[in-house]
Amino acid sequence: MIKILFFGQLKERLECADLNLEYAGEHTVVDVVQQLLERGEVWRPLAENDVLVAVNHTICAFDATVRDGDEIAFFPPVTGG
């Protein structure tokens, strides 16, 4: 199982703050995104260009490996400070 979180405008557009996904093997973030996109149109914003991803609290590229137990977060460019 992996935990997936969404923040900011992305969370609002997806109407989802977090979800758990059954998970086995070692795939990449891209594979995880693909799996969500297959669930339907509502997940489309995940494929937009400016979406950032963090695996276990560290921003990484979409080809990063995801392992069972990981926490994946998707969010728009940050605007704090």
Binding site: L5, F7, G8, D50, A54, A73, V78, T79, G81
Partner: protein
Amino acid sequence: MIVIQPEDFDHGEQYKRLRARCDSDGAIVTFTGLVRDFCHHGRVSTITLEHYPGMAEKSLMQICAQARKRWELGEVTVIHRVGELSAHEQIVFVGVTSKHRQAAFEAAEFIMDYLKTLAPFWKKETTNHGPHWVDAKASDQVAFEKW
């Protein structure tokens, strides 16, 4: 010291704390970011700051660690507020002490530039025309890349 909290902070107290701990350092630089009362959508009444708990703290710690690698620093304080804030309220505090003023200036600016691009916080502004999420600024990316 890194703090993420909804509560306001007392700038004077933070300065005193930095000064009390800075031993032989001769330079203290502080930066404070306030909620601006105007954006291109109109007059801002409040902003709401969302963050990614866990990652936000870790991100700020990493940024401060990077600053310490680049400059010889004494104390480093970063406070970032979350939740709903009114116009003119304090959002963020960065305080740095160093033996040398250039190091203190550069480190404080570096921490802010990195925070603006890497730390997981998101701002939603509420104006007289309703609420909207703040867009990331190209100038913040430029500032980030200069280091």
